[in-house]
């Protein structure tokens, strides 16, 4: 068993990672209770390691070429940095900007359109999407079952070497729920370990007055679907409507978190905003009067911010970046 573990963790032998060794799932003091049902999938170190191995294994794709980690890159808070929409197998282009992965244990739904409601039911979507991994889940299970290592690892974690969709997804969830980002300066300020600068404080006040209604602290999203007036894009992506088929949901997308923005550009569901300044300018002067435009934006059709205030807001948003999270070797492939 130790041999297996040392094999899995072979890449993590250096001394300094002791700081980031596996400690199980710990709820940050300034966070609410998680929504993930840990009782149904108790997190273990070996389960986490197995989930991580699966996350980084291209065996999940049809031609064994790409893994989850190909589009969800740790150093970029697990998004596909630099791509407006993500590239899947054979460089096929998806329709959406891959979402960053962190604080998933608090998510009530997944994807920009919220089409998946349990983390344990998530991986089938990218695996079977022809634009992403283009593989059949049943084939993946077969490949895993026939491999030299996986049946042994599943036996250790789940007590059975028979690999099915349930234990495969539970292992992957064990990795994904551990991706907790709670070490930003903002978090340390909230835990009274440090203080904001004057500029950051001014930005925090602007944030609370103008942004917090949707990007609610401490997750910086209320997880609702909203139309923020960026308008219909060229491929006519209808967002939440594609799931609910309700007219009131046209062009609504899930409010994304504002954590870790430094690593996750470009922004919005189709990555059309390359910079944060561009995002803020959208709210200052480019909001479109779409049919389902969020009521919070409809009244004024703009968020009024001076150039100085923009700088203050950016200074505050900068406190939401979590270097420890993106640099944590516990989450890295190698």
């Amino acid at each position: 068993m130790a041999a297996i573990l040392s094999l899995v963790f072979a890449c993590q032998k250096s001394e300094e990672i002791i700081e980031n060794k596996f400690r199980g799932f710990l709820k940050p003091l300034n966070f609410p209770e998680p929504t993930y049902n840990f009782a149904g999938n108790p997190i273990s170190e070996k389960g986490f390691a197995l989930g991580k191995k699966l996350f980084y294994d291209p065996i999940l794709s049809r031609d064994n070429s790409i893994s989850c980690g190909s589009c969800h890159i740790a150093q970029h808070a697990f998004t596909h940095h630099g791509h407006d929409v993500s590239h899947g197998i054979e460089d096929r282009q998806g329709i959406r900007n891959s979402m960053p992965l962190f604080n998933l244990a608090w998510n009530r739904s997944f994807f920009w359109d919220g089409g998946v409601f349990h983390l344990d039911l998530f991986p089938i979507a990218p695996i079977e999407n022809p634009l992403e991994m283009d593989e059949k889940l049943s084939n993946v299970l077969q490949k895993l079952q026939q491999s030299n290592t996986y049946p042994r690892l599943f036996k250790v974690v789940f007590g059975t070497s028979e690999i099915n969709s349930i234990n495969m997804f539970k292992a992957m969830s064990q990795f994904m729920v551990m991706l907790v980002s709670d070490q930003s300066k903002y978090d340390r300020v909230m835990r009274k370990e440090t203080t904001f600068s004057a500029e950051e404080n001014a930005g925090y006040a602007l944030f609370q007055a103008n942004c917090n209604a949707c990007h609610q602290e401490p997750l910086f999203t209320d997880q609702h679907y909203r139309d923020n007036g960026i308008g219909e894009n060229s491929i006519k992506d209808q967002g939440r409507f594609d799931i609910s088929q309700l007219e009131e949901d046209r062009l609504k997308f899930k409010v994304p978190s504002l954590r870790n923005l430094r690593y996750t550009a470009p922004y919005m569901h189709d990555g059309q905003f390359r910079t944060l300044e561009a995002v803020i300018n959208h709210y200052r002067r480019e909001i479109k009067a779409t049919k389902n435009l969020d009521p919070l934006l409809k009244e004024k059709m703009k968020i009024e911010l001076s150039e100085l205030e923009v700088q203050q807001l950016l200074a505050f948003l900068n406190t939401l970046n979590d270097d420890n999270f993106v640099n944590n070797p516990l989450f890295h492939e190698f």
Binding site: F117, D120, L121, L137, S138, S244, Q245
Partner: protein
């Protein structure tokens, strides 16, 4: 119903049943078997996957190569009005026209003279929302081929085939009907409850040691040609969008009870 019609039914019924004993005694503490036999036809013709050719009221000819649907939440009511509900976890069946063994779901029920059969075509809301660990057997999302990964939910009814009416080169049509009503906000709900009276064509007289085979005729042609008329040319692909509710309304009427064979010997006896 007027008296004359009632008497007439009674007369026909008594003739049909004249060969059956009327003095069977049932012991509620014993269990017998019930087998549901799904016999697929298309507008009156036997379903022949891939080869049989059928047509709808738009004069569109078509062939069917995939036909699968879920049956669940089975209930039987006896002539005393007592309802037997098959334990939910045991009540999920995936009927697949290509897989003969799937066409005859069998389960145990207490002895009795059952006059009504009820089931859901699809997967109930609670199960649709269930956590991953509950999705075993025919509900396994990896193997059923009846699940939308990107919009968490089971496909209740899947029918695919070919038709020259389809306005593209592939000539394929696909009807994947699901939608359980939404996870947190009410959306379209295509879960259909099917109620069949068995007493007319023969109740299921369930006795321990035997099987009562309830033979159902399932007219797949109804999916396109029921109350709602669906043109293949206009709607070659219906899944999460499109007139899925109209197709679901159609197929809920595709089941008729044809007859029941009681006191059938069980295979291993």
């Amino acid at each position: 119903m007027n008296i004359r019609l009632f008497l007439c039914c009674l007369l026909v019924g008594s003739t049909l049943f004249s060969c059956q004993k009327n003095d069977i005694t049932y012991d509620q503490n014993k269990k017998g078997s019930v087998k549901l036999k799904f016999d697929h036809i298309v507008s009156g013709k036997t379903l022949q996957l891939k080869t049989g050719e059928y047509s709808n009221s738009f004069n569109e000819r078509y062939k069917i190569d995939i036909l699968k649907y879920y049956i669940s939440n089975i209930k039987l009511t006896n002539d005393q009005g007592k309802v037997f509900i098959l334990p939910k976890k045991e009540s999920f069946f995936l009927i697949d026209a290509e897989n003969p063994s799937s066409l005859y779901p069998m389960f145990e029920v207490p002895e009795g003279n059952y006059t009504q059969l009820q089931f859901i075509l699809g997967i109930d809301e609670e199960t649709s929302k269930s956590p991953a660990e509950d999705r075993t057997g025919v509900l396994d999302i990896a193997t059923s081929g009846m699940y939308w990964g990107w919009n968490s939910g089971y496909i209740f009814f899947k029918m695919e085939g070919t038709s020259d009416a389809v306005p593209n080169d592939r000539k394929r049509f696909a009807y994947h009907i699901g939608l359980f009503g939404g996870y947190d906000k009410p959306t379209k709900n295509n879960i259909k409850t099917i109620n069949l009276v068995l007493s007319k064509a023969g109740s299921a007289q369930v006795k321990a040691g035997f099987s009562s085979d309830i033979h159902l005729l399932v007219d797949i042609g109804q999916a396109l040609d029921g109350t709602n008329k669906i043109s293949i040319a206009k709607n070659p692909m219906v899944m999460v969008s499109g007139p899925n509710d109209l197709i679901a309304d159609n197929y809920k009427d595709m089941f008729t009870h044809d007859h029941t064979h009681n006191q059938q010997k069980l295979p291993n006896e």
